[in-house]
C-alpha cells in the first residue's frame, strides 16, 4: 500500500475527533495487519472507490468510544447503544471525508459508500480488497482505537 495513504487518514482522524469530540488522539507507529480480526469492540467500515479502491475501518475500544460519543453529545453514555452506533458511522464518514479531501492534493479522487457498523468482542473486518491492511493505532486517555485501511491504486 502506498505510504502516501497514511497521513491523510492519520490527520483526518485527529482532526475529526479533536473538533467533534474534544479529545487529543495520540498516534502510534503504523503496522501491517495480516488477519481480519478487529482491533476494537465496535467498528465503522466504509467502501472507497475511484483512483484508489478499498475500504477504511475505524475500530474503537468500548471505553474510548463511550468517552468520544459522550463528549460529542454532551451527555454521559455508559454502554454501547444506538447513539454510539450512529456516531461511529458518522465519525467514519467524516474521517473518510477529510482523508479523501487531503488525498486530492496528491491527485487521488476517491468516493465513499455508506458506512456499516459491526460490534462485539473479536468481530471481524472484511476489507473490500482482502489482503493485509494498514493499522494506525491511536490512544486517548480513556482507551484506544485504530484506523484500519486497505487501499490499492
Amino acid at each position: 500500500m502506498n505510504v502516501k495513504f497514511i497521513n491523510p487518514f492519520l490527520e483526518g482522524s485527529i482532526s475529526v475527533l479533536k473538533t467533534m469530540a474534544f479529545v487529543e488522539p495520540r498516534a502510534g507507529k503504523p503496522y501491517l495487519k495480516m488477519d481480519s480480526l478487529a482491533k476494537g469492540d465496535i467498528s465503522g467500515i466504509i467502501g472507497l472507490t475511484g483512483s484508489a479502491t478499498g475500504s477504511l475501518a475505524l475500530s474503537f475500544s468500548e471505553s474510548a468510544i463511550l468517552k468520544i460519543v459522550s463528549n460529542m453529545l454532551g451527555e454521559n453514555i455508559t454502554s454501547i447503544n444506538s447513539d454510539i452506533k450512529d456516531a461511529v458511522g458518522e465519525i467514519t464518514n467524516m474521517i473518510s471525508g477529510v482523508a479523501r479531501k487531503n488525498l486530492e492534493a496528491d491527485g487521488f479522487y476517491i468516493q465513499a459508500a455508506i458506512p456499516t457498523i459491526v460490534y462485539g468482542k473479536n468481530h471481524s473486518i472484511t476489507h473490500v480488497k482482502g489482503g493485509p491492511s494498514l493499522i494506525i493505532p491511536f490512544e486517548i486517555d480513556e482507551g484506544t482505537f485504530v484506523v484500519d485501511v486497505c487501499l490499492t491504486e
Binding site: 453529545l73 444506538s82 479531501k101
Partner: protein, 129 residues
C-alpha cells in the same frame, strides 16, 4: 444578534447527529432548537412555526438537503428562510448546486461550535442588512 432569540431547525436523518449539532448550538448559547428527521418533516415544521434559520444535512433519504432547500425557496411563505447546508465534503458540484438553489451558506463536517455560530451569525447579519 442574541443567540437566545434565534429559533434553529436542525434537519438530519441521524438522531445522533441532530444531538451533536444541538450540543454545539447550546455551547454557543442557542436555546430555541427544534429538530426534523428528514426534509418532509422539516417542511411540516417550517409551515407550522416560525423558524429563523435551518441547519440541514445534505445526505438524507426521502428528501435530500438540496431538495428541501429547493422546496423552501419555491414556497412563497418560506422562500426567505435562512438556510445553512451541512455537508460531509466540500465537493465543488454540490456547492455550486446549493448556491444556485439559494443556500445562504454551507458548513463542512467536522466543525466546531464557534464555526457553526459564526456561519449562523453571518447569515443573520446578511439578511438583516
Amino acid at each position: 444578534m442574541n443567540e437566545k432569540n434565534i429559533k434553529v431547525l436542525i434537519v438530519d436523518d441521524f438522531a445522533t447527529m441532530r444531538k451533536v449539532v444541538r450540543n454545539l448550538l447550546k455551547q454557543s448559547g442557542y436555546e430555541d432548537i427544534v429538530e426534523a428527521e428528514d426534509g418532509v418533516m422539516a417542511l411540516k415544521v417550517l409551515k407550522s412555526q416560525k423558524i429563523d434559520v435551518v441547519v440541514s444535512d445534505w445526505n438524507m433519504p426521502n428528501m435530500t438537503g438540496l431538495e428541501l432547500l429547493k422546496a423552501v425557496r419555491a414556497d412563497a411563505d418560506l422562500a426567505k428562510t435562512p438556510f445553512l447546508m451541512v455537508t460531509a465534503e466540500a465537493l465543488q458540484d454540490n456547492v455550486v448546486a446549493a448556491v444556485k438553489a439559494g443556500v445562504n451558506n454551507y458548513i463542512v463536517k467536522p466543525f466546531t461550535a464557534e464555526v457553526l455560530n459564526e456561519k449562523i451569525k453571518k447569515i443573520m447579519e446578511s439578511i438583516n442588512k
